[in-house]
Symmetry: C2
Subunit: 344 residues, 2 copies
């Protein structure tokens, strides 16, 4: 089959790889219908050292079950399913607590003999725990929104949930990428009435307004902090959803949050340390968030997508075929595209 | 009257200062019965630059109301009261949320013309919001435990509450100082069944066991982390209560906490940054805590003290008179005393 490999920064290739087959009785094989490029794929795209063997790519996909191992129940050939961006048994103590990203028998797509999502098919370990059935047809117009349950919308939701967003909390979202916009939508869904979106790309912040942002702050750094404080009587917001992962974004978050408030981060940290010293201690700030256990949220979010109450799939503004994935990476890296969907 | 001033590192003096008088209609004057030396007083005791005018000291006290301003209701001459370690109006939006440390009209003892607690009397601003009446006599044997509601026990309680300690959470307490031991007692009171106390001073950890610690880990650093992990099947505890404030204590906390868990810090941070980068993001760790809004907790904790269900006053292992306060500082700095109470 065809699949995507990265051989170094900026070097993405679609190549022939072995067809996936059931290897363990807990496996399934899924033919991929849709996958996508993640903002987190852009970190290696910018910095991966050259590698001879290449790195399989993609961790967000939905598709059709082709085959199942002997111990997989509840799934059969022909089922349409979505995969969260890590696989997990969904039965261990961490999974039972809703922390499938720390599953005792889980792991990561594209590593150690596991396929990536950006290809024609995937062998899914722990298939029964990992995959969630979707009651739609292969040609459903809902596929883009359903695909966001694999990662990006669940990540925005995790950010809002861990921050404690609700009807009485004011919210600042740092970052107008696909995760930031998903966080806006998630905060709105959880009842937030005041959502300040920090971002400077009008096309993106316009979508953010559609998703529920009440204010847009284009300024950055101290100016951006000042602007959020002006909008909130000098105090900042109860919660800040940090959806970038850089130190400047984190500094803005610390500046924009209200005393007693919470910063939740879901942008993969590109920093080793967090600026939360004595002054932040005196303000009783909380830092939370982390890699999102998407699996924990899919069933809860699914009805809102199926019934059209939310359309998180609007973050996709470009669709490419499998062979055009390299150009999809380029378009996202160049900020031509917000988020690229792949039709396998 | 006599009061305590610090003129530089190691230089504590008890001197004559002006008697406090009502200055604003919201003031009260309280004659101090008991005060104490705080672990946080030891930071300036170790490092304060030499100052000509001296710094008034003490932020934990209980005493008897001597006089009240015209706008103070609910308090009268003769009432025995405890003061939390910051003063606050107890009516602003922050106070209403239980964050009296961020009160819009609050402040700190010993600063800007406000007396410190280590003296014969104190002018209390925002007296009606700040002071809490204690239904005991001046010679009550409960005074030491009641005095801990001013700071140290409420600080341990804040640590446990913000960490989310409850019957199903395992707990590590980092630090066997008075705050750490208070955190043990608070965690026990909140229902924690497994409480691992990290400390190496046997007299202190023995009191920790009396307060509810089920395990004591004397090792530090990587060894200490390893020991906590051994005690918890390799995982660490759901919560870590960081009661020291140094970077090594924070490193131990990060190492000892379980994936998905929470570190709460109440030791005043002696570091500008927190080591929570990518690996901790992948483990979904939360950092919370901060300076404790003691005022928010006093009414809730008071019945347990009055009825003898908890004895947080056992952290006091030495009592001095006002003129011996300098030796009290020395004894705490030299670790001769765990916590020093002052009888005014």
């Amino acid at each position: 089959m065809r699949a995507t490999l990265m051989y170094g920064a900026g070097d993405v290739r679609v190549e022939d790889v072995p067809d996936p087959k059931i290897q363990r009785p807990t496996d399934a094989v899924v033919r991929v219908l849709r996958s996508c490029v993640c903002g987190s794929d852009l970190w290696p795209y910018g910095s991966l050292p050259v590698t001879e063997q290449g790195q399989r790519m993609g961790h967000e996909f939905l598709g059709v079950v082709e085959d199942t191992g002997a111990e997989v129940s509840g799934l059969k050939r022909g089922d349409l399913v979505v995969a969260p961006f890590v696989w997990s048994d969904n039965t261990c103590d961490f999974c039972a607590e809703g922390l499938q990203t720390s599953c005792r028998h889980g792991g990561t797509w594209g590593r150690e003999g596991i396929d990536g999502g950006q290809g024609e098919a995937v062998r899914v370990p722990q298939a029964q725990g990992t995959l969630v059935k979707l009651p739609v047809a292969e040609d459903s117009a809902l596929l883009p929104s359903l695909l966001t349950l694999s990662d990006v919308f669940c990540t925005g939701h995790h950010c809002a949930v861990t921050a404690g967003v609700g009807p009485r909390t004011t919210v600042t979202v740092v970052g107008d990428g696909a995760v930031g916009l998903s966080a806006v939508l998630a905060a709105k869904r959880l009842g937030a009435e005041r959502i300040i979106l920090m971002g400077r790309h009008k096309g993106r912040t316009d979508l953010g307004r559609d998703f529920g942002a009440t204010d847009v702050v284009a300024e950055r750094g101290e100016e951006g902090i000042e602007r959020v404080r002006e909008l909130t009587g000098g105090d900042g917001t109860h919660t800040v959803l940090e959806c970038v992962g850089t130190l400047p974004a984190l500094h803005m978050s610390v500046g924009a949050v209200r005393a007693g408030g919470t910063i939740s981060r879901v942008g993969a940290p590109q920093y080793p340390e967090v600026p939360l010293g004595f002054p932040e201690f005196m303000r009783n700030l909380t830092l939370t968030g982390g890699v999102a256990p998407a699996r924990a949220y899919i069933e809860e979010l699914l009805p809102d997508v199926l019934e059209g109450r939310i359309e998180p799939g609007r973050v996709f503004d470009r669709t490419v075929g499998l062979d055009d994935i390299p150009d999809g990476y380029r378009a996202m890296a160049d900020r031509e595209a917000l988020k690229v969907m792949v039709r396998s």
